[in-house]
Symmetry: C2
Subunit: 306 residues, 2 copies
């Protein structure tokens, strides 16, 4: 990994600081968005706020913003970029709230706090998740440049829906009783986590009106870090404590779930993640320093311990 322009030891604090700065922009935006909900039931707004402003790495919105920067956006907090980043985080948060439900993964802990349904009850958690989906598309339609609304909504909706994240979640549930090979596992990863990460960088590129070759490059980057991300997630589930991750761990093995470590072992899993990181960085070869933010996030995704 010495061929990348940033040295590991120097990268991480930088990346984390940048993630935090972008997260602050995003959270200020969310505060403005929530004040638009004057006519909504306060308890619903509270439930949305609880999960939306619960911290988290804000990785997906950061990918939107950094992809926009990579493709030359002068201001990565420009309305179209910020709306895309906000919509992306709303969809991600909705998926966490619904995945945690008793009928799904039945989790009690998320981002170090009780899950939404533990605090607000199942009905409100379902409805808060539903609300976040429509809020995501409304953000784009209201705040992005009019001529970008169509392409951005297509990108987000297709990554969310039956051939994207939601489809991947269904495959994941269905495969719980099956023994998958690596190819089958990658297919689930590609849909369940990969689709949204891929859409994040594509939306950033679209929001900064990137030419086709740049869009293609960040797309390949997104696909590769999507695969790396899920492998690292699987590894962390085995090697971390609930305190470290802020959510239940060791759940995959307990369920006999198909994961990279279960299929090829921890060491080979780490190697696979490093391999996908290399391919991700390779996809950015034609970019100058404008893509250093993306490069930093890619390294962070693989080297993170939470």
């Amino acid at each position: 990994m010495d061929d990348t322009p940033l040295k590991q030891g120097m990268v991480k604090p930088d990346v984390v600081a940048k993630l935090r700065a972008d997260a602050k922009h995003l959270e200020a935006y969310f505060e403005r968005v929530l004040t638009r909900l004057g006519g909504a039931p306060p308890r619903l707004v509270e439930a949305v706020r609880y999960s939306l402003l619960a911290g988290g790495k804000r990785l997906r919105p950061a990918l939107v913003m950094e992809a926009a920067r990579a493709c030359g956006a002068v201001d990565a907090t420009h309305a179209s970029v910020l709306a895309s980043a906000g919509a992306m985080e709303l969809i991600h948060t909705f998926s966490l709230v619904h995945d945690d439900l008793p009928a799904m993964d039945d989790d009690d802990l998320r981002r170090g706090k009780p899950t939404n349904h533990k605090v607000f009850g199942e009905a409100l958690a379902i409805l808060a998740g539903d609300a976040m989906v429509s809020m995501a598309f409304e953000l784009i339609a209201r705040d992005a440049d009019p001529e970008l609304v169509g392409p951005l909504v297509v990108e987000l909706a297709s990554a969310t829906g039956p051939v994207g994240m939601i489809g991947g979640q269904v495959l994941d549930i269905e495969s719980e009783t099956l023994k998958l090979d690596l190819c089958g596992l990658q297919q689930i990863h590609r849909m369940k986590t990969g689709a949204l990460l891929r859409a994040a960088v594509r939306m950033g590129a679209i929001a900064s009106r990137a030419p086709e070759h740049q869009l293609a490059a960040v797309t390949e980057f997104g696909v590769q870090i999507g695969l790396a991300f899920q492998i690292v997630d699987d590894v962390l589930d085995v090697t971390s404590t609930p305190e470290q991750l802020g959510k239940a761990t060791q759940k995959d093995a307990g369920r006999g779930k198909n994961t990279y470590p279960a299929l090829i072992g921890l060491d080979a899993s780490r190697e696979a993640a490093a391999h996908h990181l290399k391919l991700a960085l390779g996809a950015l070869e034609t970019f100058t320093g404008s893509a250093d933010g993306l490069r930093g996030i890619a390294r962070y995704v693989v080297e993170r311990d939470v």
Copy 2:
């Protein structure tokens, strides 16, 4: 009600026939949309299809198409109109699937068939509902005229979200243990059912590029039939059998739920519905025969027995 251009005895078969014809266009469109989901898990597509193509009155998409006709659309099956109608029915169907869940209304029967979660399980029913929301916005973004995507998505998303249908559902749940007055009940109706019916006619008008005064007129029409619709729904819950409605009845009273009949009695409820019908028809005064479809639906909404 003699001031309206159509006599009751003549209207109903016409309206029903027209609803059926428009429903056929819509269902053919849904079939095309579902074939786009090649990469999706078959079981998820099956769960979406089960609820989406389960029949139903298709009232909301008909309102989209008739509002488009009222505002001069030459072809009410034009791409922007059809995409709006399809998106509207997807959102309505998603809301039924989630409302029927055990954590919400816990219903076993819908449109005369077992509810989605009874057939596919709770997890898949949640995910199928989620999928329908993203599919709705994707339809508009892919199939509507590019410059209409923004306004149509804003319309649908705001009618769906925290200040619309989902917010109304939260208020409805919260009010189950409260005794509301008529004003409080109307507020719930306006959000829970009214927002989507209002959006339906507005989207039809927007899709046919209606001028501002026409948009305002159909908006008022939508508000009034929204109120009439929910009153009639409450009345039918008291006066019908499950066989007639294809869903459980007498549930409202059993729960001590706030309804028009419970609050002001059956006769006054019927009068209130007729009053809102009159206001709805009055809102269409400046329209010629192009709005006869809307007028027919308005009468149908109040006079229906299912």
